[in-house]
Structures are given as C-alpha cells and as structure tokens.
C-alpha cells in the first residue's frame, strides 16, 4: 500500500524544480480554499479567480514556507489575507438574505452520499444551509475548526486574532448556527431529535 507523500515532501520537491508536483498540493486544498473564499464573495467566478490568485501567491512565495507550521495553516493565512485585500478593493456586494438564493447555492454542494440515504442528506443539507446563513467570519471559523481540522492557535494565526478571541468566536458561531437551525429548519431538527 503506497502512502501519499506529505505536504512538506511535495514542497521540497517543488523547490528542487519539480513544478508539476505543485498540482498535487492544489488538488489537496483547492476545495478548502474555494469554500473559505466563497463564504466572502457571492459569485463562484470571483471565488475561483481569487482561489487561483491564492495558489499562485503560495507558489511564488513557497521558499518562505519554513515548515514550522502546517502547510494548510500557511495556505489558509494567504487565503484570508487575499480575501480581505480583494474585498477592500472591490465594493462589497450586498449579501442577499433571500433564502432561495442561499438554498440554491447550498444545493449545489456535492453530498458524496448515495441518493438513497434521504435522512442523511437532509441532515447534511440542513447544516450546510444553516452555515450559508451565517456571516462569513462565523462560517470561516466553523469550517476551519470542524472541516479543515485547524486548532484554535492555527485559526488565530490564519485570521490574525488572539487564540482566546477565536475561542469566543467559535462559541458564538455555534450559538448563532443553532439559532439559524431552530429558526429556519424546525422540521428537520425535530426529525433529528
């Protein structure tokens, strides 16, 4: 059984001149980067453009990655700062609270589960739809903690905050998520209980 090379191994090889191996790093993290950015911009095209920008920046400054943190943490830090720079340059879009739009976007998610598993899909859709209703910062904290498996310290580095601030934000984000689910997904929640 072959084990996948670690991020640091891939980086070392890219730095030695094997540029094509950078594609492997892109494939590993493109979904995470894209999802984080999509929380901040409404359009998928903009999110893709910014995501591309992130990976290009990461490639160009790869020699500065010292390896004292995880590559994912370093990459998400670039993602966060690139996103903020883009938002500052562009006039912010008005976030639509039209639930149809939110649900339509959320429905495009790839569930990865078989179509027969209706209850599971319903649960997954509920959670993701509720996260889509959160503010971008709240959604980012939850995604980084639960999906990207970043620790509180790592999230603090990514978002440029103190660890205690991240801890409080995570608590509040979960609270708000619970409120969204109780407000908008009463039927699904009662099925779960």
């Amino acid at each position: 059984m072959t084990t996948q090379p670690s991020d640091n191994d891939l980086i070392a090889q890219v730095l030695r001149g094997n540029q094509q191996l950078f594609a492997e790093l892109v494939k590993r993290y493109q979904n995470f980067v894209f999802t984080i950015i999509l929380r901040y911009v409404e359009s998928r095209e903009d999110a893709e453009e910014i995501s591309q920008d992130v990976f290009v920046k990461a490639y160009r400054s790869l020699a500065d990655f010292r390896g004292d943190s995880k590559f994912s943490t370093w990459l998400y830090t670039i993602t966060s700062t690139t996103c903020i720079t883009h938002l500052r340059r562009k006039k912010p879009d008005v976030f639509s609270l039209d639930q149809e739009n939110v649900f339509a976007r959320a429905e495009n998610l790839n569930s990865g589960f078989s179509a027969n598993d209706v209850e599971q899909k319903s649960k997954i859709n509920m959670v993701n739809n509720a996260i889509a209703l959160l503010s971008p910062d709240d959604a980012q904290v939850i995604t980084l903690f639960y999906k990207a498996e970043q620790s509180l310290d790592e999230i603090a580095t990514i978002m440029g905050l103190e660890t205690n601030t991240v801890k409080v934000r995570l608590h509040r984000a979960r609270q708000r998520l619970k409120e969204k689910m109780e407000k908008h997904f009463v039927a699904e929640l009662s099925d779960l209980r």
Binding site: A47, D64, N110, V127, K147
Partner: protein, 178 residues
C-alpha cells in the same frame, strides 16, 4: 456555584473539543458521573459536535481549476526566500550607527550644560540666536551629507516605481493571455 446554562454549555463544548485543561477535564468528568443535567447537556453537545464534523461539506471549483493554476504558475519562478537577500547584520549595523549618533548628540548636549548656573530660566549656556545657520549650511560636509540623502531617496523612489511598473506589465500580460 450556580452554573448557568450557557456556562455549562461553554465548558462542555471545550471538553468535547478537547481544549479543557487537565483540572477542568477531571471536574467535568466527575460532574458527568453525578449530575444528570450535565449528562443530558453533554449528550446534546456531543451529538451536535458529531453532526458538525460529519456534515460540513466543501464547495468545489470547476474541473479546470488545477489546470488553470498550473498554467498560471508556469509563467513564474519561485522567489528566493527573504532570508537569503535580507542580511540582518546590515540592518542592525545601520540601526547601530543611528543610535550611536543619537546617543553621542545627547552626551554632547548634556556635557555642555552649565549645571551650576542659578536664577536663569534655562540651564543651557549657549545662546541659540548667536548660532550662525548660514555657516553651518555652507559647510562642505553638511552639503555632501544632504546630497547623499537626496540621491538615496531618488534611488529608492525609482525602485518603488519600477516594481509598480513590473506589476502592471504582469497584469497586462495576464489579461491579454485570457
């Protein structure tokens, strides 16, 4: 101590997330054994935590995304690490020179103060109005120093403008290739 609902929830979330201290962990474990309110809340929070871990999905970019990135990076070279071209010794050396000049100035000023003078508003013996500014600024060495500062400023300004020009050219190149 009366635990409020939100306090119990917060402590249990920290416990479930694995970020409680060792002492807090043992306190909570004892409460879970003895207090049914804590046990009930713990089950709820554990369920919610598992739901979040299993349910969050990621969006995917287009199928061509990786290819687009690789085509983009083909134009660039990896920049050398900043530590290879920023020599900290030089920076510390320049800082040291400036600090030495500042300290020397302070020493000179304080050494020339007449501490024994009485009844005067200022302890400084030299009269500022008697300083011949024309003589100072006609000095060759002062002029050379000022000219060097002007030249260095122009060089730095030119570097700044050429970096900006390069960025604009790269942008035009990217836009024309799309």
């Amino acid at each position: 101590m009366m635990d409020t609902n939100s306090n119990i929830e917060e402590r249990l979330w920290d416990y479930v997330d694995g970020i409680s201290s060792a002492h807090e962990k043992s306190v909570i474990e004892k409460l879970l054994e003895t207090d049914c309110e804590w046990r009930h809340k713990y089950k709820e929070i554990l369920k919610a935590s598992i739901l979040l871990q299993e349910s969050i999905e990621l969006d995917e970019p287009s199928m061509r995304f990786t290819q687009n990135v690789m085509e983009d990076i083909a134009k660039y070279k990896i920049a050398p690490a900043a530590s290879t071209y920023i020599n900290k010794k030089i920076i510390y050396g320049i800082a040291g020179v400036f600090l030495t000049i500042i300290v020397a100035m302070f020493v000179y000023v304080f050494a020339n103060i007449d501490w024994t003078s009485t009844g005067s508003a200022s302890g400084i013996t030299f009269d500022l109005s008697k300083i011949n500014y024309g003589k100072i600024f006609s000095s060759t060495y002062v002029n050379i120093f000022l000219m060097l500062n002007v030249i260095i400023s122009l060089v730095l300004f030119d570097k700044y403008l050429s970096v900006k020009k390069k960025k604009l050219q790269e942008q035009d190149l990217t836009n024309s290739s799309i």
